[in-house]
């Protein structure tokens, strides 16, 4: 049977579903945040006495330590999620594997982010 539909008509409604621009912008916004946050976080962690458990806990429990860590990890997990999403979409073309990896990426970054927030609040309060 001859298919009269044009290639454009076949793909319309599939794919990025119009969210590509928001993804692109979010990746930039988080990268600008991380540009400022990462050096501060790395410097503070490196001078905190880590990996000694007591010293690291004291750093994470201090107001500045907790705030900088929260900001850095929040921007970081957001940036990581969208970054790895693009890597998966670029290299994994098998539908099932791709969906599995995308789900894993989302669950890992969002889940670990929330668990980290809970842990920091527990330490700092």
């Amino acid at each position: 049977m001859t298919d009269y539909r044009t290639p454009a008509a076949k793909v319309r409604g599939l794919g990025a579903s119009g969210h590509g621009t928001a993804h692109f912008i979010a990746q930039r916004v988080t990268s600008i945040a991380l540009f400022f946050l990462v050096p501060v976080f790395v410097w503070m962690l490196a001078t905190s006495g880590a990996p000694d458990p007591a010293a690291t806990r004291a750093f994470l429990a201090s107001p500045m330590g907790a705030i900088v860590t929260l900001l850095t990890l929040t921007a970081g997990f957001h940036h990581m999620r969208s970054g790895l999403q693009v890597v998966i979409e670029d290299y994994v073309h098998k539908a099932g594997t791709k969906a599995f990896l995308l789900l894993g990426n989302t669950f890992l970054t969002l889940g670990l982010w929330l668990v980290t927030v809970f842990a920091l609040v527990k330490l700092a309060l």
């Binding site: 600008i32 540009f35 990581m80 970054g83 842990a119 920091l120």
Partner: protein
């Protein structure tokens, strides 16, 4: 993966056929360091959670004996990875403003960033490596 690619049309030649050049290496390294930073951030987040619940004893072996050197090597690699991704990410932001696309300058910056990323890595680990 490539074996799952069912489209019979010819694909654009990929990594195997191109001579390696600086901008290509820096682009690939940006992705590789991004994945490295992902693994590093997950590890650090898990460590923070273990610390918060007083369960860091379960990973104490990472800081004992010869494993301490493996851990240190991994963290030095992570420091380089973050430094590189941070510098090359800054370059990406300049690209967004349409700046930095001249071929000669691009080659130079690709090489420069790979070497300059060693500076913060060395500074941190020579200063606090003990």
């Amino acid at each position: 993966m490539a074996s799952d690619w069912s489209d019979p049309r010819p694909m654009s030649p990929h990594l195997q056929v191109w001579r390696w050049h600086a901008t290509m290496a820096s682009s690939i390294l940006h992705r590789a360091t991004g994945i490295g930073n992902y693994i590093g951030a997950v590890a650090i987040a898990v460590w923070l959670v273990l610390l918060a619940f007083g369960a860091e004893g379960s990973i104490a072996f990472l800081f004992e004996g010869w494993m301490a050197w493996v851990t240190r090597f991994g963290l030095i690699l992570l420091t380089y990875s973050v430094s590189y991704h941070w510098l090359n990410g800054l370059r990406h932001l300049f690209w967004d403003f349409g700046k930095g696309f001249d071929p000669k300058g691009s080659n130079f910056r690709s090489m420069a960033i790979m070497f300059v990323a060693i500076i913060p890595t060395a500074a941190l680990w020579l200063g606090f490596g003990s």
